[in-house]
Symmetry: C2
Subunit: 390 residues, 2 copies
């Protein structure tokens, strides 16, 4: 239980495996390379930190077929957002019963499709969706997502998802009336949640709903902790064990005598640290004779997979093919003609003074929320390719 989210030796080995692949195969840049042993390692660390919790991998974080296949073989369940993600999981070895259709925004025909493929677990946050699940996936289990205050998260979730706890309680009662199994309550504590106690308030709110409905005789059993487990970027979060301890303590504190079934939907924490994006320096330039910092333009940018650099929210560790000598401050930007395609101009990065066009810049811990975000063809640049090493 001493594994951290950034176990340096293991990450060093993973980076070495990835670089051997890059040196040998020399794929076109930019590209994302996933180290599959690291995916297994991170998944195992989370499972060990939360031993009685069912882990549903959030496929959206990285839908590479090899990643899904590995996790299915490891016994992971899957949190999916769409029919295409259901098809992917089933094709790569997941059982329909191991899938949660956790997107509360679903077309009726997509619910029907999921049901036809054997999916029987849905997350809702509205009357319309509960009624649609009852009609198109009769008899299925449903979790109601509540809106929570998220503190300590790099990406607080606002109000897009979830409903007020009293509405969730009513909708669980409605679900039961409509012949669905009112399974329990879900929430999301915010992505890249750096505070292990960041789940506490939401667990309290969820417990209140669950215990109230159980007192009424409704067989509500389950708490879905959602996503939010972090990855190590430039900043290093506490170890999975600390999250496990804080979450376990919060559940015991707020649920009292009743022991709920618990599920969690990590994405970033499973795959981020497994991935390295290799980019090539396209241009190093100053804008005037008095500029103190250089602009470094890479062949990957905000529209080529680095969407999470919006607002400089995620700061990837960088390594270059010229590391070792003196460095200086830089602004880092992508290759498109879009003025917003600037990665870092406020976050302080220093890169080698002799960095030049054709050199490599590797973005570490870039396995989550990158390749699948990339634009289909903005400015004529192709989407980020993914390669996997074993």
């Amino acid at each position: 239980m001493t594994k951290s989210f950034a176990d340096d030796n293991r990450l060093h080995e993973a980076t070495a495996r990835i670089r051997r692949f890059l040196d040998h195969d020399r794929p076109d840049t930019p590209c994302l390379v996933i180290d599959l042993p690291t995916v297994r390692d991170r998944f195992t660390a989370i499972r060990e930190a939360l031993p009685r919790v069912a882990v549903f991998y959030a496929v959206k974080a990285n839908p590479a077929p090899e990643v899904v296949e590995l996790l299915a073989a490891e016994g992971s369940c899957f949190d999916v957002a769409s029919p295409a993600e259901i098809d992917l999981c089933l094709a790569r070895g997941a059982a329909p019963g191991a899938i949660s259709y956790s997107n509360p925004i679903k077309k009726a025909r997509d619910i029907a499709y999921a049901f036809g493929r054997g999916v029987r677990l849905f997350v809702s946050d509205s009357e319309q969706d509960v009624r649609a699940v009852a009609e198109h996936a009769p008899g299925s289990s449903v979790l109601l997502r509540i809106v929570v205050e998220s503190r300590g998260s790099t990406y607080p979730f606002g109000k897009k998802f979830g409903c007020a706890p009293e509405m969730a309680a009513d909708l669980l009662r409605l679900a039961a009336e409509l012949g669905l199994a009112p399974l329990g309550v879900a929430f999301h504590a915010g992505s890249q949640q750096l505070d292990p106690t960041g789940w506490d308030g939401a667990i309290a709110d969820a417990a209140e709903v669950v215990l109230k409905l159980r007192a009424e005789g409704l067989p509500v059993t389950t708490l879905n902790l959602g996503g939010g487990l972090p990855a190590a970027y430039l900043e290093r979060p506490p170890a999975p064990a600390e999250y496990g301890a804080a979450i376990t303590a919060a559940i015991e504190r707020h649920f009292g005598d009743f022991t709920p079934r618990v599920m969690i939907e990590p994405g970033r924490a499973v795959v981020a640290e497994s991935g390295l994006i290799r980019s090539e320096v396209v241009l190093v330039a100053k804008k005037s004779y008095t500029d103190e910092q250089r602009w470094v333009f890479l062949d990957v940018g905000r529209y080529g997979g680095l969407a999470e650099t919006e607002g400089e929210a995620i700061a990837y560790p960088l390594e270059t093919s010229r590391d070792g000598g003196p460095t200086g401050p830089v602004v880092i930007a992508g290759p498109t003609c879009d003025a917003d395609d600037v990665l870092y101009q406020h976050t302080v990065y220093e890169l080698p003074l002799d960095l030049r066009a054709g050199d490599f810049v590797d973005l570490l811990r870039a396995g989550a929320y990158t390749a699948s975000y990339s634009s289909v063809a903005f400015n004529g640049f192709p989407p980020l390719a993914t390669h996997c090493v074993r």
Copy 2:
């Protein structure tokens, strides 16, 4: 010369043509439909407003092959950002001499590729790029982009592109020494530039460089006005003729006796008004019993082509299949599990009170910077499809 950017009769006819196509063909939603006659109409209006200016369509705004083909047939030139855009233009009827490789961020091998395909006009803003053009596209023409203050623009360009005017002058001298044709000066006044006088300061800066170098005997002849011509969204900009008059006057004022060759690179102004995105309502919900506004979730969002709703910068006019009855305030969001996939929560939109799942919401004037931005597969949703009507 009285055509406005939002000629209501023509736009009404265009929308009717698009809806006939949608009613008849019933393509899957979401999708973008481009009305090609409107593209021709907008291109013509710009050419008439700036009769002595060479129009280079910015392919990145909408790279649909039918759009490029139509514009090539109309005699447009093309501003491209990548080798793929060069291939597209050549395949759709553009001559190599009608192409400007206007992205100042270019790999050496991409310059060589462009040269091999016959491209002889490049825009640079750095010594490295000028030297790379000289080496890999010998004898070509080069424009140096200067950085400008952009006021009045919805998307000011910041400092990503361009260099200080004195550096641009030095690089034009260097270009001549290296055997390139030092053609002139380029700039960008900021995208969706709502002020017709917004080009004035940049034209003054460019004129100073051009006239100084001509006095030295360098055969600098050309002014590239870049992009920035606006489209009509919720707000309506002045007519093209006003832009033409303001720009023409600024050129005469700042260049004096010398009459430069002039080029312009509109993208948005050519294609935005030609496009309609048809989306389907996935969910209408309230988050609590006291909420005054509804949340309307569409099957298109920020990662499905509506990237320009970031910061609510672009506000598309909306029409629904239930328009006519009473309306109420809404928050509008996309279909992914991403909390940032919210389109409008500060911009005031009212939609019909009886709007429900399965209804259509059409986003008007959505022909620019939409389909090519969309994610390849975020959350498992496919990229936005484009259809064209004639």
